[in-house]
Protein backbone atom coordinates (compact mmCIF):
# COMPACT_ATOMS: atom_id res chain seq x y z
CA UNK A 1 0.00 0.00 0.00
CA UNK A 2 1.37 3.39 -1.01
CA UNK A 3 -0.08 6.59 0.39
CA UNK A 4 0.73 9.71 -1.62
CA UNK A 5 0.55 12.74 0.63
CA UNK A 6 -0.03 15.62 -1.77
CA UNK A 7 1.57 18.26 0.39
CA UNK A 8 -1.08 18.18 3.09
CA UNK A 9 -0.51 20.26 6.18
CA UNK A 10 -1.77 17.72 8.69
CA UNK A 11 -0.06 14.45 9.66
CA UNK A 12 -1.82 12.28 7.05
CA UNK A 13 1.48 10.78 5.88
CA UNK A 14 2.50 9.79 9.41
CA UNK A 15 -0.86 8.20 10.14
CA UNK A 16 -0.66 6.19 6.91
CA UNK A 17 2.92 5.12 7.68
CA UNK A 18 1.95 3.92 11.16
CA UNK A 19 -0.96 2.02 9.64
CA UNK A 20 1.51 0.11 7.47
CA UNK A 21 1.51 2.06 4.20
CA UNK A 22 4.52 3.34 2.32
CA UNK A 23 4.36 7.10 2.60
CA UNK A 24 5.43 9.32 -0.29
CA UNK A 25 5.09 13.03 0.22
CA UNK A 26 4.95 15.79 -2.38
CA UNK A 27 6.79 18.79 -0.93
CA UNK A 28 4.08 20.99 -2.47
CA UNK A 29 0.47 20.39 -3.47
CA UNK A 30 0.26 19.25 -7.11
CA UNK A 31 -3.17 17.71 -7.63
CA UNK A 32 -4.67 14.27 -8.00
CA UNK A 33 -3.20 13.37 -11.40
CA UNK A 34 0.32 14.12 -10.21
CA UNK A 35 -0.31 12.14 -7.03
CA UNK A 36 -1.43 9.07 -8.98
CA UNK A 37 1.61 9.29 -11.24
CA UNK A 38 3.90 9.54 -8.20
CA UNK A 39 2.24 6.58 -6.49
CA UNK A 40 2.52 4.42 -9.60
CA UNK A 41 6.15 5.42 -10.19
CA UNK A 42 6.94 4.48 -6.61
CA UNK A 43 5.09 1.18 -6.83
CA UNK A 44 6.47 0.09 -10.19
CA UNK A 45 10.06 0.26 -9.01
CA UNK A 46 9.35 -2.14 -6.14
CA UNK A 47 10.75 -5.58 -6.97
CA UNK A 48 8.08 -8.08 -7.96
CA UNK A 49 5.29 -5.53 -8.40
CA UNK A 50 2.80 -7.03 -10.86
CA UNK A 51 -0.69 -5.76 -10.07
CA UNK A 52 -1.46 -2.12 -9.34
CA UNK A 53 -4.63 -0.52 -7.98
CA UNK A 54 -5.30 3.19 -7.66
CA UNK A 55 -8.11 4.51 -5.50
CA UNK A 56 -9.23 7.72 -3.87
CA UNK A 57 -8.30 7.69 -0.20
CA UNK A 58 -11.52 9.28 1.02
CA UNK A 59 -13.29 6.00 1.71
CA UNK A 60 -15.57 6.09 -1.33
CA UNK A 61 -14.39 2.74 -2.71
CA UNK A 62 -15.03 -0.76 -1.40
CA UNK A 63 -12.31 -3.34 -0.86
CA UNK A 64 -14.45 -6.13 -2.28
CA UNK A 65 -14.73 -4.24 -5.56
CA UNK A 66 -10.94 -4.03 -5.77
CA UNK A 67 -10.57 -7.74 -5.11
CA UNK A 68 -13.08 -8.56 -7.83
CA UNK A 69 -11.24 -6.26 -10.24
CA UNK A 70 -7.92 -7.97 -9.48
CA UNK A 71 -9.57 -11.29 -10.28
CA UNK A 72 -10.84 -9.83 -13.55
CA UNK A 73 -7.34 -8.67 -14.44
CA UNK A 74 -5.97 -12.15 -13.89
CA UNK A 75 -8.84 -14.00 -15.48
CA UNK A 76 -9.90 -11.98 -18.54
CA UNK A 77 -6.86 -11.23 -20.67
CA UNK A 78 -6.84 -7.46 -20.02
CA UNK A 79 -4.30 -4.83 -19.02
CA UNK A 80 -6.60 -2.38 -17.28
CA UNK A 81 -9.85 -2.70 -15.33
CA UNK A 82 -11.75 0.51 -14.61
CA UNK A 83 -14.56 0.71 -12.09
CA UNK A 84 -17.92 1.95 -13.35
CA UNK A 85 -21.01 3.22 -11.61
CA UNK A 86 -23.11 2.87 -14.75
CA UNK A 87 -22.54 -0.64 -16.09
CA UNK A 88 -26.18 -1.63 -16.09
CA UNK A 89 -28.69 1.16 -16.76
CA UNK A 90 -31.34 -0.82 -14.88
CA UNK A 91 -29.47 -0.85 -11.61
CA UNK A 92 -30.21 2.04 -9.27
CA UNK A 93 -26.98 3.70 -8.22
CA UNK A 94 -26.54 6.05 -5.32
CA UNK A 95 -24.88 8.66 -7.48
CA UNK A 96 -26.66 12.02 -7.18
CA UNK A 97 -28.78 12.75 -10.26
CA UNK A 98 -26.96 15.84 -11.53
CA UNK A 99 -23.59 14.21 -11.07
CA UNK A 100 -24.85 11.12 -12.86
CA UNK A 101 -26.01 13.16 -15.86
CA UNK A 102 -22.72 15.02 -16.11
CA UNK A 103 -20.58 11.89 -15.76
CA UNK A 104 -22.65 9.96 -18.28
CA UNK A 105 -22.47 12.83 -20.76
CA UNK A 106 -18.70 13.08 -20.26
CA UNK A 107 -18.30 9.40 -21.11
CA UNK A 108 -20.58 9.67 -24.13
CA UNK A 109 -18.94 12.84 -25.43
CA UNK A 110 -15.45 11.41 -25.27
CA UNK A 111 -14.59 9.75 -28.57
CA UNK A 112 -12.02 7.48 -26.96
CA UNK A 113 -14.35 6.43 -24.16
CA UNK A 114 -16.93 5.42 -26.75
CA UNK A 115 -14.43 3.48 -28.81
CA UNK A 116 -13.21 1.61 -25.75
CA UNK A 117 -16.81 1.03 -24.67
CA UNK A 118 -16.39 2.83 -21.36
CA UNK A 119 -19.34 4.20 -19.42
CA UNK A 120 -17.63 5.94 -16.50
CA UNK A 121 -14.20 7.31 -17.27
CA UNK A 122 -14.01 9.38 -14.11
CA UNK A 123 -13.98 6.53 -11.66
CA UNK A 124 -10.99 6.67 -9.31
CA UNK A 125 -10.85 2.91 -8.90
CA UNK A 126 -8.51 1.28 -11.42
CA UNK A 127 -6.61 -1.99 -11.44
CA UNK A 128 -3.85 -2.62 -13.97
CA UNK A 129 -0.75 -4.67 -14.71
CA UNK A 130 2.93 -3.80 -15.07
CA UNK A 131 2.58 -2.94 -18.78
CA UNK A 132 0.21 -0.11 -17.93
CA UNK A 133 2.19 0.97 -14.87
CA UNK A 134 5.41 1.21 -16.90
CA UNK A 135 3.71 3.09 -19.72
CA UNK A 136 1.84 5.51 -17.50
CA UNK A 137 2.93 9.12 -17.90
CA UNK A 138 0.22 11.45 -16.62
CA UNK A 139 0.99 15.08 -17.38
CA UNK A 140 -2.27 16.65 -16.24
CA UNK A 141 -1.70 17.42 -12.62
CA UNK A 142 -5.26 18.25 -11.70
CA UNK A 143 -8.54 16.46 -12.25
CA UNK A 144 -8.12 15.99 -16.01
CA UNK A 145 -5.95 12.93 -15.51
CA UNK A 146 -8.93 10.56 -15.83
CA UNK A 147 -9.41 11.53 -19.48
CA UNK A 148 -5.68 11.43 -20.00
CA UNK A 149 -5.62 7.90 -18.59
CA UNK A 150 -8.25 6.85 -21.15
CA UNK A 151 -6.36 8.62 -23.93
CA UNK A 152 -3.19 6.72 -23.00
CA UNK A 153 -5.04 3.42 -22.92
CA UNK A 154 -6.32 4.19 -26.40
CA UNK A 155 -2.96 5.29 -27.81
CA UNK A 156 -1.01 2.41 -26.30
CA UNK A 157 -3.62 -0.19 -27.23
CA UNK A 158 -4.03 -1.37 -23.67
CA UNK A 159 -6.86 -3.86 -23.35
CA UNK A 160 -9.46 -2.20 -21.16
CA UNK A 161 -12.57 -3.51 -19.48
CA UNK A 162 -15.01 -2.26 -16.88
CA UNK A 163 -16.21 -3.70 -13.62
CA UNK A 164 -19.36 -2.49 -11.87
CA UNK A 165 -18.50 -0.94 -8.52
CA UNK A 166 -20.42 0.92 -5.86
CA UNK A 167 -19.31 4.36 -4.74
CA UNK A 168 -20.04 5.27 -1.15
CA UNK A 169 -21.02 8.92 -1.13
CA UNK A 170 -20.18 9.73 2.44
CA UNK A 171 -20.33 13.25 3.74
CA UNK A 172 -16.53 13.36 3.77
CA UNK A 173 -16.10 12.16 0.21
CA UNK A 174 -18.77 14.57 -0.98
CA UNK A 175 -16.94 17.46 0.67
CA UNK A 176 -13.66 16.41 -0.96
CA UNK A 177 -15.23 15.72 -4.33
CA UNK A 178 -14.73 17.97 -7.32
CA UNK A 179 -17.40 20.50 -8.14
CA UNK A 180 -19.22 19.78 -11.38
CA UNK A 181 -18.08 23.10 -12.81
CA UNK A 182 -14.61 21.58 -12.90
CA UNK A 183 -15.84 19.73 -15.98
CA UNK A 184 -15.15 22.91 -17.94
CA UNK A 185 -11.49 22.80 -16.91
CA UNK A 186 -11.33 19.13 -17.80
CA UNK A 187 -12.69 19.70 -21.30
CA UNK A 188 -10.27 22.57 -21.87
CA UNK A 189 -7.30 20.49 -20.70
CA UNK A 190 -8.40 17.73 -23.05
CA UNK A 191 -8.11 20.07 -26.02
CA UNK A 192 -4.77 21.31 -24.84
CA UNK A 193 -3.30 17.91 -24.19
CA UNK A 194 -2.46 17.16 -27.82
CA UNK A 195 -0.08 20.08 -27.90
CA UNK A 196 1.85 19.23 -24.76
CA UNK A 197 5.41 18.10 -25.23
CA UNK A 198 5.75 14.78 -23.50
Amino acid sequence: MVCVDDGSRDDTGDVALRAGAHSVRHPVNLGQGAAIQTGVEYARRQPGAAVFATFDADGQHRVKDVIRMIDRLAGDDVDLVIGTRFADPGVVTHTPLLKRIVLRSAALLSRRSRKLGLTDAHNGLRVFNKTVADGLNLTMNGMSHADEFIAMAYENHWRVTEEPVEILYTEYSMSKGQPLLNGVNIIFDGWLRGRMSR
Binding site: V4, G13, L17, R18, A19, G20, A21, H22, S23, V24, R25, H26, P27, V28, L30, A34, Q37, T38, E41, Y42, T139, N141, L192, R195, M196, S197
Partner: protein
Protein backbone atom coordinates in the same frame (compact mmCIF):
# COMPACT_ATOMS: atom_id res chain seq x y z
CA UNK B 1 8.07 66.36 -34.62
CA UNK B 2 5.41 66.09 -31.93
CA UNK B 3 6.32 65.32 -28.34
CA UNK B 4 4.34 62.08 -28.53
CA UNK B 5 6.39 60.97 -31.52
CA UNK B 6 9.64 61.52 -29.65
CA UNK B 7 8.35 59.68 -26.59
CA UNK B 8 7.15 56.71 -28.63
CA UNK B 9 10.44 56.42 -30.53
CA UNK B 10 12.47 56.54 -27.32
CA UNK B 11 10.33 53.83 -25.71
CA UNK B 12 10.51 51.57 -28.77
CA UNK B 13 14.30 51.97 -28.97
CA UNK B 14 14.80 51.30 -25.25
CA UNK B 15 12.74 48.12 -25.57
CA UNK B 16 15.00 47.11 -28.46
CA UNK B 17 18.14 47.70 -26.38
CA UNK B 18 16.64 45.73 -23.50
CA UNK B 19 15.75 42.81 -25.78
CA UNK B 20 19.13 42.68 -27.53
CA UNK B 21 20.99 42.77 -24.23
CA UNK B 22 19.12 39.83 -22.73
CA UNK B 23 21.46 36.90 -23.12
CA UNK B 24 19.40 33.87 -22.25
CA UNK B 25 19.17 31.09 -24.87
CA UNK B 26 20.50 33.41 -27.53
CA UNK B 27 20.25 31.09 -30.51
CA UNK B 28 16.62 30.00 -30.13
CA UNK B 29 15.56 33.59 -29.56
CA UNK B 30 17.49 34.93 -32.57
CA UNK B 31 14.43 34.99 -34.83
CA UNK B 32 12.44 36.78 -32.19
CA UNK B 33 15.13 39.46 -32.19
CA UNK B 34 15.16 39.74 -35.98
CA UNK B 35 11.38 40.09 -35.88
CA UNK B 36 11.66 42.71 -33.20
CA UNK B 37 14.17 44.78 -35.19
CA UNK B 38 11.75 44.73 -38.14
CA UNK B 39 8.97 45.75 -35.78
CA UNK B 40 11.03 48.67 -34.46
CA UNK B 41 11.79 49.91 -37.97
CA UNK B 42 8.14 49.68 -38.98
CA UNK B 43 7.11 51.25 -35.66
CA UNK B 44 9.37 54.27 -36.01
CA UNK B 45 8.20 54.73 -39.60
CA UNK B 46 4.58 54.62 -38.45
CA UNK B 47 5.29 57.11 -35.68
CA UNK B 48 6.94 59.59 -38.05
CA UNK B 49 4.39 59.19 -40.85
CA UNK B 50 1.15 58.11 -39.12
CA UNK B 51 -0.91 58.87 -42.23
CA UNK B 52 0.88 56.12 -44.15
CA UNK B 53 -0.71 53.52 -41.87
CA UNK B 54 -4.08 54.78 -43.09
CA UNK B 55 -3.02 54.00 -46.65
CA UNK B 56 -2.13 50.43 -45.67
CA UNK B 57 -5.42 50.23 -43.72
CA UNK B 58 -7.34 51.31 -46.79
CA UNK B 59 -5.70 48.55 -48.83
CA UNK B 60 -7.10 46.09 -46.30
CA UNK B 61 -10.56 47.68 -46.22
CA UNK B 62 -10.08 49.45 -42.85
CA UNK B 63 -10.96 53.13 -42.67
CA UNK B 64 -8.27 54.48 -40.34
CA UNK B 65 -4.66 53.53 -39.67
CA UNK B 66 -5.35 53.77 -35.93
CA UNK B 67 -8.06 51.11 -36.25
CA UNK B 68 -5.67 48.83 -38.10
CA UNK B 69 -3.12 49.28 -35.32
CA UNK B 70 -5.73 48.35 -32.75
CA UNK B 71 -6.68 45.16 -34.58
CA UNK B 72 -3.05 44.17 -34.79
CA UNK B 73 -2.64 44.92 -31.10
CA UNK B 74 -5.56 42.64 -30.21
CA UNK B 75 -4.15 39.79 -32.29
CA UNK B 76 -0.71 40.26 -30.74
CA UNK B 77 -2.21 40.33 -27.27
CA UNK B 78 -4.15 37.11 -27.75
CA UNK B 79 -1.09 35.43 -29.22
CA UNK B 80 1.08 36.52 -26.30
CA UNK B 81 -1.52 35.40 -23.77
CA UNK B 82 -1.83 31.96 -25.31
CA UNK B 83 1.91 31.40 -25.60
CA UNK B 84 2.31 32.48 -21.98
CA UNK B 85 -0.39 30.00 -20.99
CA UNK B 86 1.32 27.17 -22.87
CA UNK B 87 4.67 27.99 -21.32
CA UNK B 88 3.06 28.07 -17.94
CA UNK B 89 1.62 24.60 -18.48
CA UNK B 90 5.04 23.30 -19.53
CA UNK B 91 6.60 24.79 -16.42
CA UNK B 92 3.88 23.24 -14.27
CA UNK B 93 4.78 19.82 -15.66
CA UNK B 94 8.48 20.33 -14.99
CA UNK B 95 7.67 21.52 -11.48
CA UNK B 96 5.53 18.42 -10.88
CA UNK B 97 8.36 16.16 -12.05
CA UNK B 98 10.82 17.91 -9.78
CA UNK B 99 8.47 17.58 -6.81
CA UNK B 100 7.92 13.91 -7.71
CA UNK B 101 11.67 13.24 -7.76
CA UNK B 102 11.92 14.75 -4.28
CA UNK B 103 8.93 12.73 -3.09
CA UNK B 104 10.39 9.46 -4.39
CA UNK B 105 13.76 10.15 -2.77
CA UNK B 106 12.23 10.86 0.60
CA UNK B 107 9.69 7.99 0.58
CA UNK B 108 9.22 6.34 3.96
CA UNK B 109 8.83 2.60 4.25
CA UNK B 110 6.73 1.15 7.10
CA UNK B 111 8.40 -1.04 9.72
CA UNK B 112 8.14 -4.78 9.18
CA UNK B 113 5.66 -6.43 11.49
Amino acid sequence: MNWIQALLIVSVLSLLVYLLRSRRNARSKAWVKVGYVLFVIAGIYAILRPDDTTIVANWLGVARGADLMEYMLIIAFVFTTLSAYMRFKDLELKYARLARAVALQTARVPEER
